[in-house]
């Protein structure tokens, strides 16, 4: 059911518009998330495997 969705999808998407730039808020959020995950993947240390005794 659409009413059970986390977000109410029964309306037109919200858009950001700045000069020539126009993009839906959903797409902007996804792009920002990808950038955040990319930066985190570089900065967060990878867990090291324990040496076998």
């Amino acid at each position: 059911m659409v009413s059970a969705a986390l977000f109410d999808l029964s309306h037109p998407a919200h858009y950001l518009h700045w000069h020539f730039f126009q993009m839906s808020v959903a797409n902007v959020v996804v792009i920002l998330l990808m950038i955040a995950v990319f930066v985190a993947a570089i900065l967060i240390p990878f867990p090291k495997r324990r040496r076998e005794s």
């Binding site: 998330l33 995950v37 985190a40 993947a41 990878f46 090291k48």
Partner: protein, 226 residues
Amino acid sequence: MSDGEGRPVSPEERQMWTTWVRERAVGALPPEKLLPDRQPAYVSSWIYVFGVATIAALVVVVASGTILGLKGPEWWHVAGIGRFFNGIHLWAVELFFFAMVVHLWGKFFMGAWRGGRGRTWMTGAIAFLVAIGAAFTGYLSQQNFDSQWIAFEGKDGLNSVGIGSFFNVADFGQMYTFHVILLPLAVVALVVWHVLLVRRHGVVPPYPAKPTPPPQQAAPSEGSAR
């Protein structure tokens, strides 16, 4: 030269295409290279996880898409479990592209085409482009108002770049065939080729560190011990 069991290959067997294919395949990708148990130390980073995350999402995309295709549009629009699988298919695609874009950024900044890895880079880039086509035809195959809207927007887009005569994006049958057979086969084949090339050439090493100038040695002062 011998066969896989150590038996020498006779001249007659050497003319067989199976011998030629086997020797080429094992020569290019010996088993220890195809299924390695070690990786270089620099692979120990989260940025190397997104390639296999993309493949994991692709497996879910193909599996859920197969079930959707077998059950049909009425099932995925009306039945509760059908809508659930429709959601799995959509979100697996979202994760597929999310992971693939982060993988692409990582490989771009690593210069992953270096060291004879040009074909690895190109197969990945082409797989990305073909996957966009697969996603586009998927949106066209939804069988709802959304797909009609996307079809008529897409029609204008394809016409504007001069390839509109090759596709009829408003034709469900044509787009569905592209979506469930042709483009998935192309994506999977490209991904398999890409992974085999990664196995053959190995993961690209990091850029070499910039050489640092040696520290200036202090001039010996007068009276210092010789």
